[in-house]
């Protein structure tokens, strides 16, 4: 296999312009990876934070995502119970073992059965946090970690996301930069980063868009208002 590697690289190098300056090429690559300069970003999402939140909500809703805005963590279990009732769903929730979600006042809704862990085939409804929301396209950024199993994003029929307004950014680039800042180093990069834009869909039969192909049929976001990130401790 290393023989194949050598031959592939030899052919590639033969195809490069003759006399290519290798030191300069290496420097260019190191700089692009190290500095990761931003390319052109659409103006659409370069807005004050409150307008980014509004854009995020509008973009998500256009994709059939439902968004509940709440004033504080205290209101979350009630909104989730309402969601289950609205869709005639059983009261069982499979939840990410994440501090935000573990500390919600679930006991105020005693009929809700809450348990924590990765997604299983029998789970109908999952509740997870998100890492960021991207206003430009109404996209969620989620990533794998000890307290955020990836399978909860894909296995259940209904994916419910609890997040703060301060997690909403304008562009994809800003969200990636926040992830870099949080991780500190690429060495800590998670196994997966999921960008989720609306519920699962397909257009594989005669090009007709249909929701609920293999992933969640519905995506619901409970947005806790807390102002822009700059005002958070």
């Amino acid at each position: 296999m290393s023989q194949s590697r050598d031959r592939i690289f030899a052919t590639l190098r033969k195809g490069l312009p003759a006399g290519a300056d290798d030191a300069a090429r290496r420097a260019a690559v190191a700089e692009r990876i190290g500095q990761h300069p931003r390319n052109l970003m659409p103006k659409r999402a370069q807005l004050p934070h409150a307008e980014q939140v509004a854009l995020f909500t509008a973009k998500a809703e256009a994709l059939t995502v439902t968004v509940d805005s709440v004033a504080s963590e205290q209101d979350v279990p009630g909104k989730i119970a309402d969601y289950l009732a609205r869709h005639n769903l059983p009261s069982h929730l499979r939840v990410s073992p994440d501090p935000l979600l573990q500390n919600l006042p679930w006991h105020e809704r005693p009929l809700l059965q809450v348990d924590y862990g990765p997604g299983r085939s029998q789970d109908l409804v999952s509740v997870t946090p998100a890492f960021a929301g991207i206003a430009e396209t109404g996209t969620l950024m989620l990533h794998s970690a000890s307290n955020t199993p990836t399978t909860l994003h894909f296995v259940p029929d209904h994916h419910l996301v609890v997040m703060y307004e301060s997690q909403i950014t304008g562009t994809l680039e800003e969200a990636f930069q926040r992830l870099r800042d949080k991780l500190g180093s690429v060495e800590n990069w998670p196994r997966t980063v999921n960008l989720v834009t609306g519920p699962s869909r397909t257009a594989d039969i005669e090009g007709v868009p249909v929701l609920g192909a293999h992933g969640p049929r519905r995506l619901h976001i409970v947005l806790i208002s807390d102002g822009p990130a700059s005002q958070q401790s």
Binding site: S146, T150, F154, W189, L195, I205, G212
Partner: protein
């Protein structure tokens, strides 16, 4: 052992396709829709054209540094606990994947959509060795049931009508029970797409959990983090890669890009060009196996990276093809593709990108018809997010075929005779004068020919217009000038 090639029979394939009523119906339905969704999405983003230029710049930069970015990708992937397998040929890639599956005693392999696995003929090979591949992308699942190759790179079953799909489901899961009425069999099946999607979802659900290995493709490889990226709408690729113990990514070397900013830029043009969405539903970056503290994810992560002639394209007239991000816009906007469908092209990549790429990958002798399967309307280049000069590359292949004397001699002699005459004006005028007068006389004033010797290729399908005057254009022009 790769996918059966029928590109050499393009002419026969195309005539057959033109007479296939189901194909006509399917192509008419998707015809305008795919192209107009792209137009709507592009015009809703003022920066769209500028973003295409940015995309071209990124890919050109990558191609000038591709060896170094691939090294960097390998280094980062390895640090995250993944393994990279370099494969020059389809055979090497198949053997590598088989060995990996055997190391897990795999019986069932779920698969996300991957054109590179079509390129290497993976499914047939795994079946021959006792491993059952299960396609999970709805379109791929449908054509797997039908034992057909994909006809479109992002909508593999777009050549099928809903009635044909309902019949396939009836043939393959007649015992399927309606989700809201256990014990009630589904037949006779509804042809409603929503109902058919629900059935496929239910049938494939258990397969994800039973699979020993999950195989996906990759749209991008990010050098900065060592991650592979898939872009999907259904979520099947994510179930495929997060439930089994082993995740194998099968991709090719030109998919490497520098960093997350470059990914962000290219994503903005990819979905808009492909389906007219602003963003596909699921874009997933994956690198390495589950971390020790992770509650789910695969225990092993392998990337099988195929060359298959791509490295030889660098520094040649074909280099711009390495910018392709496989969005399918060129086929969605191609009049020839819309007339004959994807199967007529006879290999993995149909449409204009196939007409430009396939002669390199399966040989010009075999694929010589494909660069001719074009009206040269230029629409493919106009919509290509990476601005690949597809018509120029097809023209380049035509020149190659002429120079290398590939294909029948008669058209070549014809072209050479014409070229000789065109370079000698007196000869050209003399011969056109004779030809115009003769044709005008032979048409007996009808103005058209239903049949004409040596022109059956034209007249079998329609009448050939006859010269409307006994004099050539030049003769008439000279007369009127005075």
């Amino acid at each position: 052992m790769s996918m059966t090639i029928t590109a050499q029979d393009f002419e026969a394939n195309a005539s057959k396709a033109l007479r296939d009523p189901n194909l006509r119906k399917a192509m008419d339905i998707i015809g305008g829709a795919m192209a107009s969704r792209r137009v709507d999405a592009a015009s809703a983003l003022p920066e769209f054209e500028a973003l295409r230029d940015e995309g071209v710049k990124i890919k050109n930069h990558v191609l000038a540094h591709i060896d170094l970015y691939l090294e960097k990708f390998e280094e980062q992937l390895t640090k995250r606990g993944g393994r990279l397998h370099w494969c020059r040929t389809p055979r090497e890639a198949r053997e590598t994947i088989l060995a990996l599956c055997r190391s897990r005693n795999a019986k069932t392999v779920t698969k996300g959509k991957s054109m590179v696995t079509e390129e290497i003929g993976l499914n047939g090979f795994l079946e021959q060795h006792g491993i059952q591949p299960v396609e999970t992308d709805l379109g791929e699942y449908i054509i797997q049931l039908a034992h057909e190759p994909p006809s479109h790179i992002i909508g593999p079953a777009l050549h099928k009508t809903r009635e044909q799909i309902a019949q396939l489901f009836e043939d393959h899961h007649p015992d399927y029970e309606l989700p809201n009425a256990p014990g009630v069999k589904a037949g006779p099946r509804s042809t409603d797409p929503q109902t058919l999607v629900t059935e496929a979802r239910a049938v494939l659900r258990d397969r994800y959990f039973q699979a020993d290995v999950g195989i996906t493709g990759a749209n991008f490889l990010i050098a900065e983090t060592g991650a592979t990226v898939i872009v999907t709408n259904e979520g099947n690729g994510d179930l495929t890669q997060s439930l089994p113990k082993m995740h194998i990514v099968v991709s090719s070397i030109e998919k490497v890009i520098p960093n997350l900013e470059d990914l962000s830029t290219i994503l903005r043009i990819l979905a808009r060009s492909a389906t007219g969405q602003e963003m596909s539903v699921y874009t997933t970056l994956s690198c390495g196996p589950k971390r020790p503290e992770d509650p789910d994810g695969p225990e092993e992560f392998h990337v099988v990276l195929l060359d298959n002639g791509r490295s030889e394209m660098l520094g040649t007239a074909l280099q711009p093809l390495l910018r392709c991000i496989r969005c399918g816009a060129c086929m969605n906007n191609c009049p020839v593709y819309h007339s004959v469908g994807g199967h007529a092209y006879g290999w993995v990549y149909p449409g204009p990108i196939g007409a430009a790429l396939d002669p390199h990958m399966i040989g010009l002798e075999t694929a010589r018809h494909l660069p001719n399967a074009s009206t040269f309307c230029g629409k493919c280049e106009e919509v290509c997010p990476m601005r690949i000069p597809l018509p120029s590359i097809m023209r380049w292949w035509r020149e190659q075929a002429h120079e290398r004397k590939i294909g029948p001699a008669l058209p070549r002699w014809g072209v050479e005779a014409w070229a000789f005459a065109a370079k000698h004006p007196w000869l050209y005028r003399l011969s056109t004068r004779i030809a115009v007068a003769a044709l005008n006389m032979m048409s007996k004033g009808k103005g058209r020919f239903a049949k004409l010797p040596l022109a059956s290729g034209w007249t079998n399908g329609r009448d050939l217009p006859a010269p409307q005057s006994a004099e050539t254009f030049m003769a008439q022009y000279k007369k009127r000038k005075h």
